[in-house]
Amino acid sequence: MGLLKELKKGVLISLWFVFLTFPVMVIKVDPIARTVVWRWANALYMAVGTFFIYFLVQFFLRKKENRKETNDSKEQTLSFIHRILQDRLQRNILIGVVAVVAVFFPQFLSAYQTNVMTTALMYVVLGLGLNIVVGLAGLLDLGFVAFYAVGAYTYALLNLHFGLGFWAVLPIGGLIAATFGILLGFPVLRLRGDYLAIVTLGFGEIIRLILENWGQFSKGPSGISNISRPGFFGIEFSLQSSIIYTYYLMVLLVLVTIFVVNRLQDSRLGRAWIALREDEIACQAMGIDKRKTKLVAFSLGAFWAGIMGVMFAAKTTFVNPASFTFLESAIILSIVVLGGMGSIVGVLFGALILILMPEYLRALSQYRMLAFGAILVCMMVFRPQGLISNIRRTYTFKKKTTSSLCR
């Protein structure tokens, strides 16, 4: 393509961006002096910056395309992480390093950092749960936060009225959320794609609105406070040690979740989910019960959200409906998509990046969310398949082992 044409396109795009960001970047109203400051220099920076970024993006896209052409005949290009994970020694070293970091994290970093990390780990589990529904079974669920809310309120209410402790409610919260998963599953069995997304979105809002408006039941928008923190055989912790305890608890829960989800997706049931995602009609024609398979996916996904809800209520000791807005569902979904649909390692990375990045972008102060958005856009442009794309699973079974590789 002609360079001139490219240049023209670049200029047009920069102008468009200047226009879009004009109200934010150029106009500044000083409410006290009642004057408008026109920061024209900003418009120039914006134009030049966009222009360069546009060409940078074009450059990388070209490079990527060229690489694709040359590598087409070869094996699919494995990402860096895949290469590490496939080599046994490297994989063990990586796991070792992660384990050491995970164990000593609270020792070396502040309680604040530990708290942030605990939150990130919660999103790992939420992401892994949603990954069953969206990544494996291919059911686009925009109301996942509803199950998170169900778990949180299960603990909050049982704790408030019956004084039940964290450990007692943890499985109860999971099971009640799973039940709600089935309840949602039934009416949407026939729906797919966009339609399913809209219904689940509605479901998420309904749960939130009920919590907000049914004051006698849920105490409405003011929420429920003074929820007990997780205990340890009746021992009460100080705030400081409770934060550390919660962190280790979360590490443990993440490990359990990874273990279970990995085994699930690597089983007869997991294959059925993927087949359902690939082609619903063929899937049924091959003898898979669509209803059962979908309901199990919904309820297992919801189960993890419920457990995390309990964890959330216990960690913050306070719940109110404002914590369970659509934005939460969107973030969890982004974790799954960004990480790579159906990939456990991907979700792990996705959650850590998406939850930790805004924290560490605080240095950019007011531009934090802007940078966050830009990074997301770039990632999706360059790696639409997610950070860790689905890897082909190979089976070696003649040696009487049913091993399989990571996804």
Binding site: V260, R263, L264, D266, S267, R268, L269, G270, R271, A272, I274, A275, E278, D279, I281, A282, C283, Q284, A285, M286, G287, I288, D289, K290, V296, L300, N390, R392, R393, T394, Y395, F397, K400, T402
Partner: protein, 264 residues
């Protein structure tokens, strides 16, 4: 009473709004037979498959399946597609419908789903029964791949297979469900002559092993050389039935085909 047909369809009718795609159709397949269902495009052949496999609910008619060797007659009316497959009908699709992001081996393993049991508990705890079952799934699936000549492709994504191989994989996947009757919807469509010859050998081989087959096909050479009996339909109605020789000479068939373009 001694030789009940495996599949016995009577009076099958299917209306789409005002269109009658199937009109009181009768058809039967005996054990070990290869039966062909032919007719011009739009005659209703695929609709017939969709009706007997539970994908469509027919407007009227009865579908009976009888396991060979004195099994009890089963009605397939009103069953869901997965239940029909479980009872013993397995099909391929005219427009290939493989699980494209799964490997070739995994595609066949899906076929084993309805013959195996492991569920949530088994998946998480991998008890002995589950491990054995999984091993069995792998071995059976791999053996089927060897039979259809796709073992070399086992770890390839299904979408990367050449066209002819994809059609074979559809057959392999259907065979994995251990069907009483195998339904093939235009398995040779889009194949080159060489691939078609390979397919003919494959179908003959499967048939020799005792598999009953109901075949929809446009390639007349293939139909004539494979089939024991042929049913011909046009505009949703059966217009003839008989041996290949009888069909070749049947004036109604010749007329139906001369009215249309025959893609041989």
């Amino acid at each position: 009473m001694t030789t009940q047909p495996i599949l016995d369809v009577s009076g099958l009718t299917m209306d789409f709004g005002g269109i009658r795609a199937l009109n009181t159709l009768d058809l039967d397949v005996n054990n070990g037979e290869i039966v062909a269902l032919i007719g011009p495009n739009g005659a209703g052949k695929t609709t017939f498959f969709n009706c007997i496999t539970g994908i469509y609910t027919p407007t009227a008619g009865d579908i009976w399946l009888t396991p060979p060797g004195g099994g009890k007659k089963i009605s397939l009316n009103g069953l869901k597609p997965n239940q029909v497959t479980e009872k013993g009908l397995a099909r391929t699709f005219q427009n290939i419908r493989l699980f494209s992001k799964m490997t070739v081996l995994e595609n066949v393993m899906i076929g084993r789903h309805c013959r195996t049991k492991a569920f949530i508990f088994g998946a998480i705890f991998r008890n002995k029964a589950t491990l054995q079952e999984e091993q069995g799934i792998l071995e059976t699936s791999y053996a089927i791949l060897e039979k259809v000549g796709l073992a070399n492709y086992a770890d390839e994504f299904a979408e990367n297979l050449p066209y002819g191989a994809q059609r074979r994989l559809e057959i392999a996947r259907a065979l994995a469900t251990e069907p009483l009757l195998l339904l093939l919807d235009e398995p040779a469509a889009g194949m080159n002559p060489q691939e078609t010859i390979g397919l003919e050998h494959l179908i003959k081989q499967i048939s020799r092993e005792g598999q009953a087959i109901l075949l929809i096909e446009h390639d007349m050479k293939l139909v004539m050389s494979l089939s024991d009996r042929i049913f011909v339909m046009d505009y949703g109605k059966k217009i003839a039935q008989g041996t290949p020789l009888e069909i070749r000479e049947n004036p109604a068939v010749i007329k139906a085909y001369l009215g249309e373009e025959v893609d041989a």
